[in-house]
Amino acid sequence: MATQTQTITYKATLDVLEPIRELLTQTGQEVGLDKKKTYNLCLAVDEIATNVIRHGYSEAGIKDGEFNLIVAKSDNQLVVTIVDAGTPFNPLEHNVPTAEDLTIPLEERPIGGLGVLIARQSVDEFNYEFSGNRNRNIFIVNL
């Protein structure tokens, strides 16, 4: 089939996280993605959407912000892109905990830093682009 693309606009508030997970779960079912890969896609998008809402918009003092979620279905891939106009942030340049950091007892662990790690590891491919003053966080799942 040709690529089918759907674009949805969300307010940059944390209460959109659940509707986004519901949409992605439904999309996962439509394209025959298994439960685990669907869950992991929801998780990856959730982590980055949280960062966009919280750091990209809220902490930057941008009110009434919105971002787009683009869902593109093709024969062999499901590609989800978050497009936002918040503070530029490249998760691929963000330091994530190393394998060694993840063995540190929880008593001594720094709090935070796990979201980006989880996002990057939970999909087959994660990309970031900045163009036209927009962040594009791209999540690719192979079908």
Partner: protein
């Protein structure tokens, strides 16, 4: 998010139902930490929790620290395969005892 709290033989049992994401985590964390403040042993029943993001892992981390400081023990019940995988990816899994039922958790104290 639904939170139920009860005590059996001085062991606190907290049952959560719903998703722990960055929207719900603050309320969950506050409720869980306050309820656990005068207990050494806590059972967290998660079989009706369908989704946990890093914000949810942070709640587990805070609870673990609070209980560990008192030499107590946190046992997680009914963690789904998907959530267990994320706990494994982040190195959380080695610090929690995990069982299938509340009864099994109670007999582990």
């Amino acid at each position: 998010m639904k939170i139920e709290i009860k005590t059996t033989n001085d062991i606190l049992i907290i049952t959560l139902e719903g998703s722990i994401d960055s929207q719900t985590a603050a309320e969950v964390q506050k409720t869980v930490l306050e309820a656990s403040s005068d207990h050494k042993n806590v059972i967290l029943e998660l079989s009706k929790v369908g989704f946990v993001s890093s914000a949810g892992l942070r709640v587990l981390l805070m609870l673990y620290r609070q209980i560990k400081a008192k030499n107590g023990k946190v046992i997680l019940v009914g963690v789904s395969e998907e959530i267990s995988e994320v706990m494994s990816m982040t190195g959380f899994i080695n610090f929690f005892e995990m069982v299938d039922t509340v009864d099994n958790a109670l007999s582990a104290y």
